[in-house]
Symmetry: C2
Subunit: 309 residues, 2 copies
């Protein structure tokens, strides 16, 4: 069974990793949000893409979910001693990625090709694709701080500003990265990982051509909201500030009309009666490697059943 997973950062990376552990490499393509990419210290940083790659490569820091395991911070600390900005941490090993990516982008190469080569070097078997090779910047409209580039909102201001809406700058001229539409077309199902719908998945869905491609496919989503709470990040805060109830139900509604099935945590089982599409309730909190694999198996098993209904 061929699967395309749509993923943002840490939560998405965990399920993508689970899928990679139970599928053969050629069965899995992960399409990753690049709306949170930015330039920092002269380098191109792709936080979600790196989190997914590091996680699937077994290189990620298990405590934070992002960055590299056994990381050191000498470059960053020395830049700070010189007055450099301290709000976005850059580890030494992680910098190796940013340096080589920036070098190759400066030489005119495209992000998807660079990512393919990096994954090969890191021993990642599954295909990891940025959603697009064109620059897209998620802009967060806030109540009091105007419009902020995503990392300014997310890291620098620690998601404190009240959110009014989102815009994906550059999305009109973006094209799906080479391989994205083909992977979707040949997939048996699309899995929307438990990432933030507003700022991780919506940018991917907004790339011109993505939504039409999904219209013909079996699409399931895993809720990033469990019992009204986010495992990580500002997803509950965003739904609330935008006037929605912060629940798995809002996530299911968010992805309409694409959704053919919805996966929510067992503690949200009472919400199932309010869903108008088939659903699976299971343990969705991926607090260990075993649970990542278990959730991936649950999702795949259920997709098979869904397709035979």
């Amino acid at each position: 069974m061929r699967i395309v997973a749509l993923a943002g950062g840490v939560g998405g990376a965990k399920l993508a990793h689970g899928l990679a552990l139970v599928l053969a490499p050629e069965q899995l393509t992960v399409v990753v949000n690049t709306g949170d990419d930015f330039q920092h210290y002269g380098l191109r940083i792709c936080p979600d893409l790196d989190t997914v790659c590091y996680t699937l490569a077994g290189l990620a820091n298990p405590l934070t979910g992002w960055g590299r395991e056994n990381e050191t911070w000498l470059a960053f600390e020395n830049a700070q001693k010189l007055g450099g900005p301290d709000w976005f941490k850059l580890g030494d090993m992680d910098l190796g990625t940013h340096l080589e990516r920036t070098r190759r982008l400066s030489a005119g190469e495209i992000l998807s090709g660079i990512t393919r080569d990096f994954c090969k070097a890191w021993g990642v078997g599954a295909t990891i694709l940025p959603m697009t090779d064109q620059p897209v910047c998620t802009m967060v409209a806030t109540a009091d701080s105007g419009e902020l580039p995503f990392q300014e909102y997310f890291v620098r201001q620690q998601c404190k500003p009240v959110v009014k809406g989102f815009r994906f700058a550059g999305i009109e001229s973006a094209q799906p990265a080479p391989g994205v539409l083909q992977a979707i077309q040949s997939a048996e199902a699309i899995v929307i990982c438990p990432s933030n719908p507003w700022v991780s998945i919506d940018p991917i869905l907004s790339v011109p051509g993505l939504r039409p491609a999904l219209a013909e496919k079996t699409v399931v989503a895993v809720s990033p909201i469990i019992g009204g709470k986010a495992v990580k990040g500002p997803v509950v805060k965003m739904y609330t500030e935008l006037g929605f109830s912060p629940s798995a139900l809002s996530v299911a509604n968010h992805y309409q009309p694409h959704l053919n099935g919805f996966i929510l945590d067992q503690i949200d089982a009472h919400l199932v009666s309010e869903l108008t599409i088939p659903s699976l309730t299971t343990d969705t909190l991926m607090s260990s490697l075993t649970k990542r694999t278990a959730l991936a198996e649950d999702v795949l098993h259920w997709i098979r059943r869904l397709k035979t209904l």
Copy 2:
């Protein structure tokens, strides 16, 4: 006594350091070659400037003369694992410098202002100035490899190509960095450090306005060639390939008509009779911190005598 030292990399940095140890901070300005600057991995690297700054800050690696002491190489090693170029080593602590400099240059700041702030953060009392804030690139004409940017010749090809000449690309539109001409004008003497005349000192002297400013001053030079050999680097190879005898005499001739006095090693005392300007023979091999200080004291003492002749 106010001194302006002209310096390139390791040899120049050592004498500049000696001068910094015996002069008060306000008495010393070091004007540093930037013709060897280049872009690498998307970052602006200033090898000579950093060597001088690190050396005067006591941060330099005493074994290599360049780079930082107790350096680690995780970023560089990880970039290499991804296929990044390995010919120019970038240490983690050193990267902190390149990152913050690149960030500030990208924000429109000038190199001399950035260097001033870096020196303040590193506790360097003397004034260190890049020769210019405009980009200049030393190009090496070679017999078989065409024209090479300096670092390609110097590091990547390890000075192997036969040299035919040099060109300082961009020098016509370069201006002395703010403070350079003022420092020269108010100096009692100019000390040309034992750096490579062709690729470390000539770029400085070629900045428009520099040679006229030196014409009115007491200028002394310290030979980087001792007993026909270079302490470090390709200076002897360059003189030979360009058809000159590789000796301290050729260095003295190189700096004519600017020179008022010449300092050469005691083992070259037999050459003194061939010099047409006053000279000092002393121990010029700065193989220890004590000897850096001793040479600086010798040079300053002799300049005082020279000026009273």
